[in-house]
């Protein structure tokens, strides 16, 4: 017979395995959907290589080079075949391996998303808790109102506003662009990312505040908190010992979704600030019908989103024993 701790470990392991299998399956489905959707778009990727004046021979040569002259099923087999070898292929347009360019672009997008996310959490957690605890004070109400407003404003508009104020008028930060030597010069990168990070941070904080506020209100009205208070704990003791851990459970899954959204939403911010990230790569690739690049970016984004969801789930189970038991029940 297993000792309780062994049993607990094995159920977690089973859960991880099962969750991992789902992850792989989702990736496969995503790959098929991507392939099909892209081919539904009108246009030919060979066109990106040609210009007005190209003759029939050049057109055929370009089609052969990008493989758009092959039947669809053959293109699909090639695509799946290379995916199985962890090969995302070669860009039709630049002739470079897709993975190489994605790796370069990730050095922009990942820090941008993470810093924006961290800033949003840093703003939203204290303000969210404050607005819940002091819901009846004027500033509690004010925080809620401002966060409602923040949700209504589109992200590109915030970016343009920040550029107008902090770059064009005050000249405090650059209006866009990215240092050409990248992270070899951290100071310059941080300087270039200041406004984009602020944009993401503010917009994301606005929606996070609401979640944190309502999660905190749930906790405040809960029986266990009242019981803890009745047993003699002070309000702050009770909140820290029981409230935060309980309140964190739904917040973690929200944070996971928000982080994934930020990664994908970076498309807009990158365009406003002319940053060479994953989003601008995707936009350009779609314009040019550069299928390998589009597939590569979307595939990697899907992977990142699934991984973040996976991590958030796992983390939730670590902090909440009730969910662990549910996992056990499902696994057996």
């Amino acid at each position: 017979m297993l000792r309780p701790s062994d049993e607990r470990n094995s159920t977690i392991l089973a859960y991880i395995l099962r969750r991992f299998a789902i992850l792989i399956l989702s990736l496969l489905i995503a790959a098929v959907v991507l392939f099909v959707l892209l081919r539904l778009l009108p246009g030919d990727p060979a066109n990106a290589l040609l210009s007005v004046g190209a003759d029939q021979q050049q057109i055929e040569a370009a089609r052969e080079q990008v493989g758009s002259n092959l039947p669809l099923w053959e293109q699909f087999l090639r695509f799946v075949g290379s995916l199985a070898r962890f090969d995302l292929g070669t860009s039709f347009v630049s002739g470079k391996p897709v993975i190489e360019e994605i790796a370069a672009r990730l050095t922009v997008t990942v820090p941008l998303a993470l810093m924006g996310f961290a800033l949003a959490v840093a703003i939203a957690v204290p303000l969210g808790i404050l607005s819940a605890v002091k819901a009846h004070r004027w500033y509690g109400a004010a925080i809620s109102t401002v966060s409602q407003l923040g949700i209504a404003i589109p992200v590109f508009w915030v970016g343009i506003l920040l550029v107008t104020v902090f770059a064009v008028n005050l000249r405090l930060f650059p209006s866009g662009g990215y240092p050409r030597r990248g992270w070899q010069n951290e100071g310059q990168v941080l300087y270039a990312l200041a406004l984009p990070v602020l944009t993401i941070g503010l917009v994301m904080a606005a929606s996070l505040i609401r979640y944190i506020r309502s999660a905190t209100q749930d906790v405040l009205g809960s029986n266990y908190l009242r019981t803890a208070r009745a047993l003699g704990a002070s309000f702050s003791q009770a909140l820290i010992r029981h409230g935060i851990r309980n309140g964190a459970v739904p917040i973690v899954s929200i944070l996971g979704i928000e982080l994934a959204t930020t990664l994908l939403g970076a498309v807009v911010v990158e365009r406003v600030f002319a940053l060479p990230g994953l989003g601008s790569m995707l936009l350009l690739a779609i314009e040019q019908r550069d299928y390998p690049n589009v597939q590569g970016v979307l595939f990697i984004s899907t992977l990142l989103v699934l991984l973040i969801g996976f991590a958030a789930d796992l983390f939730q189970r670590l902090i909440d024993p009730r969910l662990r038991e549910r996992a056990t029940g499902a696994a057996t």
Binding site: P42, G43, D44, N47, A48, L49, L50, S51, V52, G53, A54, D55, Q57, Q58, I59, A61, A62, Q65, V93, S94, G95, K96, E101, A104, R105, I160, V163, A167, V168, R171, P174, S175, G176, G177, Y178, R180, R181, G182, R271, V272, F273, A274, L275, P276, G277, S280, M281, L283, L284, E287, Q288, R289
Partner: protein, 514 residues
């Protein structure tokens, strides 16, 4: 995507040949007036300055025979790579790496003596072998160069010694020097030209950060006059507003080609910036499919041309900038003549012509409209103009990529809007298989004969004649010529103004040191 590109040129470094048109002199006057204004700054320029050039046209790769797009001409032509000849900013063909040229009596053999003591950035000397290799690269089967076809008459390239290249032709080709201005001279030992370079130009590639910037540093071993700056960085943007903001905040020094007329106002009356308007070669075109009803009827085409107030259209899009054109030929082409009077705006005669053609009650057609500026706006304008003569326009918005598949390749359209950026591209009207399907044997012959001309005067006469005929035939409807607007910080001067082939020669740019 739009067009193939054509080289244009550098100003002060190379000699100019005779000018053939009044407009070229007008362009010169424009150049002179701006350069005088710039003189005051020249005294204290920084010879090692880093000049940041903001552009919307990032190349897709670094090889102009591999479908790199117009951005590569902007960054590399004349800066990193040189050619045997150079198309100057005024539209003339001047010698580049050629020191001496002789042409045989029958016009079929060109002998080029190369400039001595020219070396590639890698250190290898320039030899006749490199030139042969470079031309063969452009005409190779897998080449995607837009100039490939125009070099098809080359039958053989000989290299009797290291400094001499002999080009044999199967037929006379008066444009050979011009066409060779598109052929980068690359080191025949160079490996990866998609991501690297080995040219002879005044700059070498320092670093290309895809999606962001392309940096060139001065080549200190350059054979010619040294650049007046130390480094040039092309900074790429996808959004015109972001690019304008970068100039406003000093992050870039100059914008190569402003495409959003609304943004000019914020720079125009500000002494910190200079706005210059040159002559582009980009023509906004209402192209009919001349093969199909009712556009196979010349009267219908002429009626449409007369029904549209081009002047009002140009003003509503570009304000005071831009030029009206009466045909496909821009003022910087030697065979330009003012044809704006042919089928000028006249609604009554448009109606009369439609009646003669049997469309007294008008008709309707579908206009395939690319989804980017200015085409959708132009389409709406045409819709309201043509409604006045009873023609109903159905606007069908498509992407650039679809345009290429549907219109350019499949000829599956009635009428379309497109901008044609090429210099000297009237030759397209001599190709009945071109997308617009204009087929006038007289024009086909003239264009063919012009290429076989014995001298440039004869070539110019023939193409001028062809130009008049296509205008009289209203082969397409040429709405207007884009202005070429460059905006810079007032601290920089000396950049090219016309940018004929999207070229942006950087070596004369001076930036005042603070």
């Amino acid at each position: 995507m739009t067009g193939n590109t054509i080289d244009s040129g550098e100003l002060s470094r190379l000699s100019r040949k005779g000018r053939r048109s009044i407009l070229a002199s007008a362009a010169l006057a424009l150049l002179l007036s701006t350069s005088t204004a710039a003189l005051a700054q020249d005294a204290n320029f920084d010879p090692d300055a880093s000049v940041v050039i903001g552009s919307l046209y990032e190349p897709q790769n670094l090889d102009n025979t591999a479908g790199a797009g117009q951005g590569i001409n902007e960054a590399f032509n004349g800066n990193v790579y040189e050619a045997l000849f150079t198309l100057t900013d005024a539209g003339d063909v001047a010698p580049g790496l050629v020191a001496e040229q002789t042409v045989s009596e029958d016009g079929l053999t060109y002998t080029f003596k190369l400039r001595p003591n020219v070396t590639f950035h890698s250190g290898d000397p320039l030899t006749a072998q490199d030139v042969k290799h470079s031309i063969e690269r452009v005409v190779a089967p897998d080449s995607k160069s837009s100039r490939k076809k125009s070099l098809a008459t080359i039958s053989e390239i000989q290299t009797p010694d290291d400094q001499t290249v002999v080009v044999k032709l199967s037929a006379r080709s008066i444009s050979l020097p011009y066409n060779l201005s598109y052929v980068w001279i690359v080191n025949d030992a160079a490996k990866d030209l998609n991501a690297g370079e080995d040219g002879t130009g005044p700059y070498r590639l320092d670093e290309w950060r895809r999606g962001s910037s392309l940096a060139l540093t001065r080549n200190d071993k350059y054979w010619g006059t040294a650049p007046t700056n130390g480094e040039v960085v092309f900074q790429y943007f996808t959004d015109a507003t972001a690019l304008n903001n970068a100039l406003l905040t000093g992050a870039v020094d100059v914008i190569t080609s402003v495409q959003s007329p609304d943004s000019i106002a914020q720079f125009k009356d500000n002494p910190d910036f200079t706005v210059t308007a040159g002559q582009s070669t980009t023509k906004e075109l209402l192209a009919f499919n001349d093969r199909v009803e009712p556009f196979n009827n010349v009267k219908v085409r002429k009626a449409i041309a007369r029904a549209i107030d081009d002047k009002k259209l140009l003003e509503s899009i570009w304000g005071e900038y831009g030029t009206l054109i009466g045909s496909f030929v821009p003022p910087t082409d030697p065979w330009y003549v003012d044809l704006t009077a042919v089928d000028a705006y006249d609604v009554e005669s448009a109606k009369a012509l439609l009646k003669e053609a049997g469309f007294a009650d008008g008709f309707s057609f579908k206009l395939d409209t690319p989804n980017y500026d200015p085409h959708p706006i132009v389409a709406q304008f045409l819709q309201s103009e043509l409604a006045k003569v009873g023609i109903k326009v159905e606007i069908n918005v498509i992407t650039a990529n679809e345009w290429y598949t549907k219109v350019y390749k499949a000829h599956d359209f009635q009428a379309t809007l497109q901008e044609h950026v090429n210099h000297r591209d009237i030759v397209f009207y001599g190709n009945p298989d071109f997308y617009w399907g204009y087929n006038n044997p007289e024009v086909v012959d003239l264009i063919k004969a012009s290429e076989a001309a014995a001298n440039t005067d004869e070539q110019t006469a023939k193409l001028t004649e062809a130009n008049r005929i296509i205008a009289e035939d209203a082969a397409s409807n040429w709405l207007y010529l884009y202005p070429q607007i460059v905006v810079s910080s007032s601290a920089v001067t000396g950049y090219p103004l016309n940018g004929l082939n999207s070229q942006f020669f950087a070596y004369n740019i001076k930036k005042s040191g603070n």
